[in-house]
């Protein structure tokens, strides 16, 4: 790209204004903020008897369970757990895995892309060939293999901490750790998904760095004796922030989808933790034409589809506003 044309296409000072005029993206943002708040706050406020398993299994929505005298707004599942509670704690896990997994991929991808683009030449060539190789790896399959490989090691590692705590007679800590162990799969999923999803981010960042590094302010910074690392951190990173934010927003739904695929196949999140994928798996298992337990399938499906739609709307809005390479 010629240097004179570059500033206009990169700076685009009106990006936030473009975003503000995009009503669909703003509604999506509001929905996501609201959902996150509800998912964080409401499960804490729910009465304790709704959070445990009970004998009142398959209570339809809006009905009073005879066994426990509790009203279940969205019904209960096979173990008599309240669906609203399951759904919201599932939202916590799904959104959390999506966000943290995407953040990991952002970290790796940005660093990789910046180094590759700024170094240029042979290093750039090798690093980009590596990405091409990694892109021809079947992604979901690779995540599965990684999860299978990491899972037992992580469980063993957490167990090591528990035994160490027990040896020192810290009963509380040991109990906390064994509670955490039930959720170890969440950790494994986050790491595996983050390790696999960074390729697009790396390529986008590299492309931007290739343009930026030819610009005068970078030459000036270099002439003033800044180290390559300083140039990357102080001058390139701020200019990359909006595009990174955009692709972060688009990576989150991809990570959530992958997580739900794996959980649906029974390779992902395990009880007692729940995610939208594992809830849908449970829902699909009890579906039969005679006696439909539709609430187990419909509520997670609706919430998941709406959230992914909102994330994609927001991501598209951000891309229209900030990515000089997309569209008009």
């Amino acid at each position: 790209m010629p240097e004179a044309a570059a500033p206009a296409s990169i700076a685009r000072p009106d990006g936030w204004q473009i975003l503000k005029r995009n009503r669909a993206a703003l509604i999506a943002l509001g929905f996501l903020v609201g959902l996150s708040l509800i998912a964080i706050v409401v499960p804490v406020l729910l009465p304790a008897e709704l959070k445990v398993t009970s004998s009142a299994s398959f209570v339809p929505p809006m009905q009073h369970a005879v066994e426990t005298h509790a009203t279940h707004l969205l019904g209960t599942d096979v173990n008599g757990q309240d669906m609203l509670y399951r759904l919201l704690s599932g939202a916590r896990v799904s959104l959390g895995v999506g966000l943290v997994g995407a953040l990991i991929s952002l970290g790796i991808g940005t660093l990789y892309g910046m180094i590759s683009g700024y170094a240029g030449g042979r290093i750039d060539g090798v690093m980009m060939r590596t990405i091409e190789v990694l892109q021809s790896v079947p992604r979901i399959l690779f995540i599965m293999i990684l999860i299978a490989a990491l899972d037992d090691y992580v469980k063993e590692w957490i167990d090591g901490w528990r035994l160490a705590a027990q040896a020192r007679n810290w009963a509380d800590l040991a109990k906390t750790i064994s509670d955490v162990k039930a959720y170890s799969k969440v950790l494994v999923m986050i790491v595996s998904l983050g390790l696999v999803e960074w390729l697009t981010m790396a390529r986008i960042v590299r492309g931007q760095v290739l343009v930026l590094r030819e610009m005068t302010f970078v030459t000036a910074a270099r002439a003033m004796g800044q180290s390559p690392w300083g140039v990357l951190r102080r001058h390139l990173l701020p200019n990359l922030s909006t595009i990174i934010l955009t692709y972060l927003t688009l990576t989150i739904p991809a990570v959530i989808l992958d997580e739900s695929f794996l959980s649906f196949l029974g390779l992902g999140i395990e009880d007692p933790a729940a995610s939208w994928g594992s809830l849908l798996k449970d829902g699909a298992q009890v579906i039969n034409p005679l006696e439909s337990k539709w609430w187990l399938l419909v509520f997670p499906a609706l919430l998941m589809a709406t959230s992914l739609l909102a994330l994609n709307f927001l991501g598209d809005g951000l891309r229209d506003a900030f990515d000089p390479k997309s569209g008009e």
Binding site: S136, V137, F142, A148, N312, E328
Partner: protein, 306 residues
């Protein structure tokens, strides 16, 4: 052309080799071997089994043995389905996935190109907005949600198509549609953006000036150029669809390649997993190569560099 093909063939072999190495090593350092059962077999039997399948010794020994057999075009034996060769298992399951995948591929590419072109030609009208909203919707809905809903609508409610089963074309339509849905959306969005760019170009103004109607201009001239970015996407898409989607196969209860992936990981069936990965990578590499060659045929300006 020939040096290009040779170079690509060489780099493809290297790619496949890297992928298979990573897969094998990861699968072997995973805890739990292929012969670990809840009831632990006697050590000498386990040892004999491991020796028979060349899975004893260090990971490096196992790896070299495996690569050695691969070089002789031998994919090895399945450790789970005893006495089945990996090649036989793949031969048995792949055709189902291929049939499903090809149908989904045709649906995705045709519907995507048509919808995308329509949206671009009717930019900013209700047609464009509906198509693009539909695209975003079908990207956002995973197949294990859309699958049951498609069954409920078309099979149970309208009664147009059978609920399940496998073999006839009418039984394949629902799973193929379910598999194709998000990809229709990707293709449509690519096609729309690229056609919008092409519609602004000079040669199209000439075509209009010659007196062609807008439809004629688009069909005869614009689509040929605008389809190029779509073609790049079709390569990986084809490999992806042909090797089967695990989710769609499990929702519609089809026994195909997708289930091989899932089961071989859970059963620690290293050789079957390796075989499936190889098939996937070879297809991916072949389709990408095919796309590059197709590119030069569609756009005479592009030359393949050696």
């Amino acid at each position: 052309m020939l040096p290009f093909l040779l170079r690509r063939a060489l780099s493809s072999v290297i790619v496949i080799f890297c992928v298979i190495s990573i897969t094998f090593v990861l699968a072997r350092i995973t805890k739990g071997g292929p012969f670990d059962k809840e009831k632990e077999p006697p050590p000498h039997i386990k040892e004999a089994l491991l020796t028979r399948y060349k899975l004893n010794g260090t990971v490096w020994d196992q790896y070299t043995a495996y690569v050695g057999s691969l070089v002789r075009f031998d994919l090895g034996l399945s450790t789970r389905y005893r006495d089945w060769r990996v090649a036989e298992l793949l031969q048995q399951k792949m055709p189902n996935s291929f049939a499903l995948g090809s149908l989904a591929f045709v649906i995705a590419s045709c519907a995507g190109v048509v919808l995308g072109s329509l949206a671009a030609m009717k930019k900013d009208t209700w047609i464009d907005r509906t198509a693009m909203f539909g695209a975003l919707l079908s990207i956002s809905i995973p197949s294990f949600i859309s699958g049951p809903f498609l069954i409920a609508i078309f099979a149970l409610w309208l009664g147009w198509l059978p609920v399940g089963g496998w073999g006839t074309v009418s039984q394949m339509i629902l799973p193929a549609l379910c598999l194709a849905a998000p990809y229709i959306a990707y293709v449509a969005r690519l096609m729309r953006n690229s056609l919008l760019d092409v519609l602004k170009s000079d040669f199209l103004r000439t075509a209009r000036a010659k007196g062609l109607t807008e439809t004629q201009a688009v069909v005869r001239h614009a689509v040929k150029v605008a389809i190029l970015p779509v073609v790049t996407f079709l390569g990986p898409l084809a490999a992806h669809l042909l090797t089967g989607s695990m989710i769609v196969e499990s929702v519609f209860n089809i026994s195909g390649a997708g289930m091989i992936f899932v089961n071989s990981i859970q059963n620690r069936d290293v050789f079957l997993l390796g075989g499936a990965v190889i098939v996937y990578c070879v297809l991916l590499v072949l389709f990408n190569l095919f796309v590059d060659v197709l590119y030069t045929l569609l756009d005479k300006r592009i030359k393949l560099y050696a």
